[in-house]
Symmetry: C2
Subunit: 111 residues, 2 copies
């Protein structure tokens, strides 16, 4: 029954670059907190808290295999955001907007 996650929580969880990086890392498969912490200049505890936030937002589930609690990415909240975007997507899929998009892609090569 998944306790119904709010868009509020999902968006808030994604508003942090560390958490987005963790999520990206989890695309490569499950990982322990220690493993997730490795690339960052942060305490393991800090990462543990970030994973906690992701878990609260339903973006991650954990299975404790021995003392290594493995984190796994969950897609449902992301699909919810995708669906939320639908109303706006309609607008930018207009022919007119598409031209603007092409122009901007050209101009935004940086980043």
């Amino acid at each position: 029954m998944a306790t119904q996650i709010s868009l509020d929580d999902t968006f808030a969880a994604l508003a942090d670059p560390t958490r987005r990086a963790i999520l990206a890392r989890l695309l490569d498969g499950e990982a322990s907190v220690a493993e997730l912490a490795q690339p960052f200049a942060l305490t393991v505890r800090a990462i543990s808290k970030h994973v906690g936030v992701l878990e609260q937002a339903g973006l991650v589930t954990r299975s404790r295999a021995a003392q290594k609690h493995l984190s796994r990415i969950e897609l449902k909240p992301l699909r919810d955001i995708d669906r939320w975007l639908d109303d706006y997507r309609k607008l930018w899929e207009d022919r007119f907007d598409r031209m603007e998009d092409l122009l901007r892609r050209g101009a935004d090569k940086k980043e």
Copy 2:
């Protein structure tokens, strides 16, 4: 030149239900702060601040026509989120995941 908006700011701006409601409202066209404030049990000033946050996140631009500063929705940051989702979308577009999706849609009739 639009000062390059970060995903951080965009996600943070969208993490508030009031701000998402304002954005949805702006799908129907431009509006003044006073107009935007009307549906909410909040001070006009509070709404003004919310619009400020949306503006900072590049989701809204304003044109001051007389004393009515009209807010207008901007789609670019939303398209950026859409593109950010691409990596994850790949996963849930797998045949296997699609089955799970159908099951969940059935189970999530509530909300």
